[in-house]
């Protein structure tokens, strides 16, 4: 784990990437495609908008379903991934649309859900 995990990582959706260039963020989305090199994959958020996630090392496993990525937003509005986990959906599907709504509420009511 790198330093990024010792501080706040704001939860964002694709629409917020541009406002968070250079910042540590947390992004949850569904795997759409994985680049053959394994160093890049695309996630869709709860509004269906796509975000590109880059890795410094290629993936060493198959990823699918809903992924939560921690990383930093690059100048190109992609996310440089520092770590990720897969959400379990073995018992129930994850409602990504509802999560997107929750993100909007987190941002609007930031006083009641502070990052840092």
């Amino acid at each position: 784990m790198g330093d990024i995990h010792d501080g706040p990582r704001k939860r964002i959706a694709t629409a917020h990437l541009a406002q968070h260039i250079g910042q540590p963020v947390c992004f949850v989305g569904r795997v759409e495609k994985i680049h053959p090199s394994g160093k890049l994959f695309v996630l869709s958020d709860g509004e269906g908008k796509h975000t590109t996630v880059e890795l410094s090392e290629p993936l060493d496993e198959e990823i699918s379903g809903v992924i939560e990525v921690v990383g930093r937003v690059t100048n190109q509005a992609t996310i440089m991934c520092m770590s990720y986990i897969q959400f379990r959906e073995d018992k129930s599907p994850f409602d990504l649309e509802l999560y997107n709504e929750a993100i909007k509420i987190i941002h609007e009511f930031h006083e009641y859900f502070p990052f840092g």
Partner: protein
Amino acid sequence: GGYTQSPGGFGSPAGTQAEKKQRTRTQNIVPCTVSQLLAAEQVDESFRIRNVEISQVTIVGIVRHAEKAPTNILYKVDDMTAAPMDVRQWVDTDEAGGENAVVPPGTYVKVAGHLRSFQNKKSLVAFKIMPLENMNEFTTHILEIINAHVVLRRNLMEASRGPQAFPSAGVSDMGSYGGVCSMPLNGLTAHQSQVLNLIKNCPVPEGMSLQELKAQLHSMSMSTIK
């Protein structure tokens, strides 16, 4: 030997019984972010968020680290709002395993416990750590945090203003736009309160789809719900 968790000097696993006697005033269990817990002010032996005493809290986060010791398991739980928080769970040394099996790192958990501070470092003493089987509970927890803290603030305002008629946090006819956080009275617009309350009261573990919300809130257009 025990581990001194709080200024009160509870040094043994059986401390929870004594703690309960001392803290009978604090009945609420408040969902919080780690950042809120870190910012909570300590007043003597109790903690306050928005000047309301809190003791029992819940957090939801990922286990980043788990360390088993003879009498306790130390976890570091990360909810992205700050650095991971220390969560200590006392184990019954007579128990072979089962309930006190170590939760592996990378697992999302819901922790219910008491906030503690020792040498200016905050931590939780957990009475329950539950791996999430349905990740929609994680989303619900986010909404519950905001709802709970909006209500805490509203109650604080009510108390300071004295007996006046205030709308409940649920349905409000005021039509006041509380979208800006500096609004002291009702942190949510009427529409947002309704949506939040519905989500909160949803009996279905998977949560509510927008379609379900729409069906229940007949008076609202889809764009308003969104």
